[in-house]
Symmetry: C2
Subunit: 333 residues, 2 copies
Amino acid sequence: MKPTIYDVAKAAGVSIATVSKVINSTGQMREATRERVKEIMEKLNYQPSLMASALTGKGTETLGLLVPDISNPFFSEMAKTIEDRAHESGMSVIICSTDENVEKEKKYIELLQRKHVDGMIVASSFHNKKVLEGVASRGLPFVMLTTDDSGLGVTSISVDDFKGGFEATSHLLSEGHQNIVIIAEYAKSSKLRIYGYLEAHAEHGLVSSEENIFRTVASIENGRECLRQIFQKGRVPTGIFACNDLIAVGVIQEAKTMGLKIPEDLSIIGFDNTILATTTVPGLTTIAQPITEMGKKVVDVIISEIKNKNQTKERILFKPQLIIRGTTAMNNR
Amino acid sequence: MKPTIYDVAKAAGVSIATVSKVINSTGQMREATRERVKEIMEKLNYQPSLMASALTGKGTETLGLLVPDISNPFFSEMAKTIEDRAHESGMSVIICSTDENVEKEKKYIELLQRKHVDGMIVASSFHNKKVLEGVASRGLPFVMLTTDDSGLGVTSISVDDFKGGFEATSHLLSEGHQNIVIIAEYAKSSKLRIYGYLEAHAEHGLVSSEENIFRTVASIENGRECLRQIFQKGRVPTGIFACNDLIAVGVIQEAKTMGLKIPEDLSIIGFDNTILATTTVPGLTTIAQPITEMGKKVVDVIISEIKNKNQTKERILFKPQLIIRGTTAMNNR
DNA sequence: CTGAAAGCGCTAACAC
DNA sequence: GTGTTAGCGCTTTCAG
C-alpha cells in the first residue's frame, strides 16, 4: 500500500543505495539519475519512513513538549510559538498535556523517549523529579520552561518570577492597598512570586500575614472558589494578586457575582498576559511574560543542545513587564 | 547509553525473543522467568523503542491532529479533550498547527505519514484537497473534524453548522434586528452558517443583502478590523453574527473603542462557546459547539477505524446550542 | 518453555 | 557512478 525504498529503486531501475542518496541529497551520481529517481518518488508518492531512518541512528527531527494544560491560554500560546519556531528549523513538535497528574507526567516522558524525540521541552511542574533524572542520565537533551531546574543541572528558561511577584505587589502597594491576598499555584514559579510579594511588603515596611497566601490549581473555576474561601475565612482584601490570568479571571467573575465593583471595591492583578487579559472588562492588569520570545528562545536552545551536546547549561531569565489595564486602582477604603 | 532488548536479554540470561514476549505479555513461559526479566527491565530503566516495533508492522499508537491554529481556544480546548480521550485508549497525539497555510498543511500531512501515525484527525480547512486524497489512497484512516469531507468519502464530525447559523440569526431576528451583518471565515463550516443566516432571514420574510456578508480569518485583531470596515462601508447594523468567538471578541472590543454600548447599540452573537465567551463583559451570547463530546467522539471513531478498517463512513452532526448571555438584546432603533 | 533466524525500511561504509 | 551488505531494535514464526 505504502511504497518503500525498494519500490522506488525497482521502478527507477537502480539500487536502494542510490535512492537513499537522492533522499538525503548525499553522495555523487549523474544528474540524470538523480532526476529520474526524484520523478519516480514523486509519481509513487513515496515518503521515506522516519522510523526506519531513526533506527539507523539518525534523529527523528521531533521535539517533545510537556505542558501541564494545553487549554490554558498561556500554554497554548506558548505551544504555538514553539511549534512555529521549531518548524522553521525543520523540527516538529509532539505536545503532551500532563494535567498536573503525576501518572501522566511519567507516562508521557516515557512515551516521548520511546518515540525517540531528539529533545524535550518541559513546561510542566514535575512532581516526580526521578523521572526527569532518568531522562538526563540517558543523555537526552532537555530544557525546562517556566519552571526551574529542580536540582539537575539543566538549562532552564523562565521569566524572573521573583521580580514579577515583586512588581505586581508593589503596584498594588503603591496604590494604597494594605491588605493584599496572593493566590498562588503549587509550582516553583509561584514560590518565587510569593517571595517577591513578601519582599515588596518588606520594602514598604509592611509585614504580610501568612494567612494572606492562598494556593490553588490554575483554572477559572478554582479562581472563583478561591475568592469564596478568602471571604469565608474572614479576609477582606482590597487587592488580590493572582499568580496567573486564569485564576484572575475567576476572581473577577466571582467578585462580580458577589456584587463587588472592580476596581472600586477590589483591585486585581494577574500574571502571564494571555489573551484572556485583553478580553475581560475592565481589561486585566497583569504581569506580562514575553511568551513569544521565550518560546523562540527555548527552541533555539534545545536545538543547539541537540546539535552540540554537553553544552554549558544556563539559567535564562526573561524580564516580566507590568501591564496596567483596568482592574487595579487606588485603594479608597 | 540507552539499553536495548539485547542488553536486557544478556543481563537476564535469556534470548531477546523471551524479552520480547514479556514486553508484549504474549507467549508462555515460566512465571519466574517473566518476573526476572521484568526486574531487569526495571533496573536498567529499559524502554522498548516504538520505532523499532513500528517497523515490524505494529502500530505507533499515535494519532495526528491537524488544527488551523492551536492558540485559538476552540482548538486548544478541542485538542485537550482529544488528548485526554486518546490517552485513555493508550494512544498519544501529535498536534500540528497549520496556520491556515497551504505549505504547512502539506508539510505536516507528509510528516505525520512519515512518522507512521496510526490515524489522523483533520480539523484544518485544507485548501489543497489533493494532499488529503494522497492520505486516503494510502489507506491511512482519517476523519475530518469541524469541516466536511470535501468530496472524499471520509467520516466527518462537526456541529450542524447550518442549524447553528440559523439559530444565531433567528435569535437576533427575534429580538427585532433587521440589519444583521455576518462575519464569516473562509471555511466550509462558515458557508453553511451563512446559508443558515440566509434561511433565517427568508423565514422571517426578509432578504439579506450580499453586502451584509463579510469574511475574515479568525483572530481578535481581524474582528476589530472587520468592524471598522463594516462601518467604513456604510453598513450600520444593529446586530452582528460573528462566526466564532475570537472574531466576536474583536468586534466587542472595537465597538467599545468606537463608543458603542453593548448590547444597547449593537447586539453581538458568536460561535463556539469557548472560554472567551465567559470572560467578556457582558458575557458573549454564542452558539455552543459541544467540544467535549465532539472530541471524544472523534477519537472513538478514529480508533475504531484503525482497528477495523474499511468501516462505513459516516457524517456525524452534533447539535449546536444557543447560549444567551449579555451581548444580545432587543433592538431599539 | 525458550531460542534461532528472518525480516521491517533505511543508512553508511565499502566494493565494483 | 552505482550496487552490496551489514546492521539499527524489535516481532514473530518455527524448531528444539
